[in-house]
Amino acid sequence: MSAAHTIAASGGAAFTQPALLDRLEAMTSSELDALDFGAIAIDGEGMVRHYNACEARLAGLSPSRVLGHHLFEEVAPCMNNFMVSHRFEDEEAFDDTIPYVLTLRMRPTPVRLRLMKRAGLARAWVCIERRVA
């Protein structure tokens, strides 16, 4: 991972920083919107509770269309598999970064996903960073 990803450069949090989950949980909505990577929060049912501006731009969907809908069934079915959605269903706590491909605006787009969940928190997070080739 790049040293260029500093906390300062991204206005509050870096995709690769340690304890990103705590950082996101502490941020306001506008701070989340200022991030330079996508950040999606889901509740225990898989419903989207936060959808930040960067993600809206990447996917081409505005938050109003997405909030309150099921992330893996209604918004991003391409993450509905054992690598992503099943983990949120099956596991209590993790913080893992995996290479992935999304079809943002129907273009195959290599990304990195950082999947974060911890017992006791109401929300779990999926962060999306476009991979630099």
Partner: protein, 453 residues
């Protein structure tokens, strides 16, 4: 700082985007070299597990190459700058990729699930622009197969099979219990039956696996059906079906099997007529499609268990349509009958299977033969047909002597093939190549590359 601004697409555009995101069928646009330009999430979901990782969906041909190596060629071979190039091509992937993340390495064979089959339809929009629609049709394919198997049951039941018997076997195939149904059907008392080898009450047709193998197949697949002449306990025989299934037993209980035997002879005048009706193609006398697929499935599983090779030869009469068009359907029928006779005369009786699969298409299955040996058989069959003269009735009834040729495609089972369908598919591709190379010849499926996968 524009990075933080939401720039929503106009509502309609966004709605269209969402529509494509959620479409349950895979959609993909690619160029003549297979390079993917656009694809929707459903398509990515279908491709990603196949290509062994998230990064490998850049090229559609590469992603599907392990399962459909001929895809590029098939698409290129379809001439014309525009139009439908492939219509529902079945891509047999085989074992389904893991649905759940395995937490521990799974010992032993993967759990039996419906093998993954994808359907691919490709439309050429412009010479360098193609559109594909892809879906997972595993369930339909598996259901088709089960229906074909169930057909054996229905045929026996609907035609009014009068009698049946059931009895359990232990792990060694010995009868462990006996009841009135068995006494009636086999004329054996309980004392005579208990401890007796179940194999003495099983169909003994050539080509059917022995009981031990049937038990193995039942262990793997839950049950095994065989159809044939079944000996009665005190001499004589009847035509019927015998199903061996695994009995659900508790953890501490020994393994057990249940055999259900149906006597299919009672309701029909002649057992042989029944056998013919169930198993053979009326016109040519070759095995019919239903029976062939059943037997091929068996032969495929049996040879695999025994680590023996098995090969298939697909046969298709050349320019058959012109025979029909020029001389009429009776002439065409005579040609088909002649071809079937030549095929049956040129293979091992009681071992090889000769079937008419449809129209002018035949298949020969050769258990125990590898690709080279099967190619020799195919060449012999090809020469026999090419050298034979077919005397057929012409349109006005006067006999006509025709020279007919056929094209052949040969394939051998490889480790990657999950079922007989995959073998026939390869033989079919080889046949297609033989046709393309000028007909009246034998095409060989390529030897699959040994990969470290």
């Amino acid at each position: 700082m524009d990075g933080g601004e939401v720039a929503p697409a106009p509502d309609e555009m966004e709605g269209l985007l969402e529509f494509l995101y959620l479409c349950p069928h895979g959609l993909v646009e690619f160029d003549a070299a297979g390079v993917v330009g656009k694809l929707n999430p459903a398509c990515l979901q279908l491709l990603m597990p196949l290509s062994g990782g998230a990064g490998a969906v850049a090229n559609l041909y590469d992603a599907l190459a392990p399962y459909e190596p001929d895809l590029r060629h098939r698409i290129e071979a379809e001439a014309g700058p525009r139009g439908l190039v492939l219509d529902g091509l079945r891509i047999h992937v085989g074992a389904k990729p893991a649905r759940r993340r395995p937490r521990l390495p799974q010992p032993g064979p993967a759990a039996e699930e419906d093998p993954l089959v994808l359907s691919l339809t490709v439309l050429r929009l412009a010479p360098n622009r193609l559109m594909g629609v892809m879906s997972d049709i595993s369930r339909q394919v598996a259901q088709d197969r089960r229906l074909r198997e169930a057909e054996a049951w229905f045929a026996a039941v609907v035609s009014g099979a009068q009698d049946y018997a059931f009895f359990p076997l232990d792990a060694n195939g010995r009868i462990t219990d006996w009841n009135a149904s068995g006494e009636k059907l086999f004329s054996l008392s309980e004392a005579e039956a208990l401890g007796r080898a179940g194999s003495t009450l099983m169909p003994t047709e050539a080509g059917l696996p022995p009981l031990a193998t049937r038990l193995d197949l039942a262990r793997r697949e839950g049950w095994h059906l065989a159809e044939g002449w079944i000996p009665r306990g005190r001499g004589g025989r009847f035509w019927g079906t015998s199903v061996v299934s695994v009995m659900q037993t508790g953890e501490d209980e020994p393994e057990a099997f249940l055999v259900v035997v149906r006597d299919a002879t009672e309701s029909r005048g002649s057992a042989e007529a029944l056998r013919k009706a169930l198993c053979t193609d009326q016109l040519t006398g070759a095995m019919n499609r239903r029976h062939f697929f059943e037997m091929a499935r068996d032969a495929f599983a049996v040879t695999k268990l025994r680590h023996e090779p098995v090969s298939a030869i697909m046969v298709d009469a050349d320019h058959f349509k012109s025979v029909n068009d020029t001389y009429g359907h009776r002439a065409g029928d005579a040609v088909l009958t002649g071809i079937a006779a030549a095929l049956q005369g040129g293979v091992r009786t009681g071992r090889d299977l000769v079937a008419r699969l449809g129209g002018e298409e035949f298949c020969v299955l050769l258990p125990g033969l590898n690709r080279e040996a099967a190619a020799e058989v195919a060449e012999r069959l090809r020469a026999a047909i090419a050298e034979a003269c077919f005397d057929v009735p012409g349109k006005d009834g006067t006999p006509v002597r025709l020279a007919v040729t056929a094209s052949f495609g040969v394939a051998e089972r490889c480790a990657a093939m999950r079922d007989a369908d995959a073998l026939l598919h390869d033989a079919d591709a080889a046949l297609y190549a033989a046709k393309a190379a000028g007909r009246n010849r034998v095409g060989l499926a390529p030897v699959p590359a040994v990969t470290a996968a």
